[in-house]
Amino acid sequence: MTLAINVLLWLVVGTLAFIASMRGRVLLNEGSRAGAMEFILLLPRIGIGVVGSGFVAEALPNEWIAPWLGPESGFFGVVIATFGGALTPGGPVVGFSIGAAALKSGAGAPQVIAYSTAWALYAIHRLIIWEVPMMPARVVWLRAAVSLPLPFMAAALAMLLGRP
């Protein structure tokens, strides 16, 4: 599975690099450089996120997670998870690491889905750091407002579908 994904991703990279090189060497160099820089800047975040999430999952008291976010917590658990997601700071790794940690420590899957959906859609720091500087602020607030019900819908649909 991992190998297949790696092959797929690198095929896409190869294709894009080829198209870029057809348009000129400068474009190829610029793309490779920008991608490599991004990667280097991300390394410490990913390292801390991955290694940290293992320890956080292990340190979290299971008996505390289960009643609040466990499979039995139902809609109330989804509400708590949604709030937690909106308030979680951090880059691409943080929300997933915390969600995975909660799942390992006994949280219910729909609750974890609500958490990571809320975190991905309207974590407050992300709106302020990324979206507002790059887009008209009113569009950002519009997007955040219409996203409010989505974590609940995601959790509800996940419950309807049932775990594969």
């Binding site: 990279v13 198209i19 490599a36 280097i40 990571s116 989505l150």
Partner: protein, 204 residues
Amino acid sequence: MPRLPLPPLRARTARFIVLIKPVPPRRRRRAFDWSTATIAVLAFAAAVTVYVRDGREHFLTILFGDLALFAEMLPKVLAGCLIGAFVTLLLPRELVARWVGHESGFAGLLIAAFFGFLLPGGPITIYPVAGAFLVMGADAGAVVAFIVSWTLIGYTRALVWELPFFGADFVIWRIVAALPLPIVAGLLARAAVRAGFEYREGAQ
């Protein structure tokens, strides 16, 4: 459906400016920031807790397990970064704007959501592209569908970030549950605009 009038001259000038400046400004980023620092403190506290409570051997088992996971992620992350960088350079933006503009209707929402699914890269890629869509005449609903789709069902994001943490079954399940949501968000945004929400500030 009646044809909408041509966009005002200002909008057309804005479009011209975007066309001659195709690469969005890149924000400078540091390798370490306060949110990473918060997580680092949290991780350190958790590691100490595990060491003290469960002993050295258990601590090392977890540490090596996580380091192996980290090593496994690296090639995917590098690929994701390169894809994002090349797409930012190669994407024919003016074409995209035509497909998801004001007159695009429901199909425009579908196309925008599909682009969100397709376009790889991080926030540094997505928000400048979304901002450019707006300037070039995409409507708020399409832009919302695009961003929500990238956030929830974008494949590079899922492959690179989510999969190593959650495993394939869980990720596929979550994505299937999320499939209708970009369209829902886009429709809600259009409803808000129709109800009088003004999203183009002043000269925008």
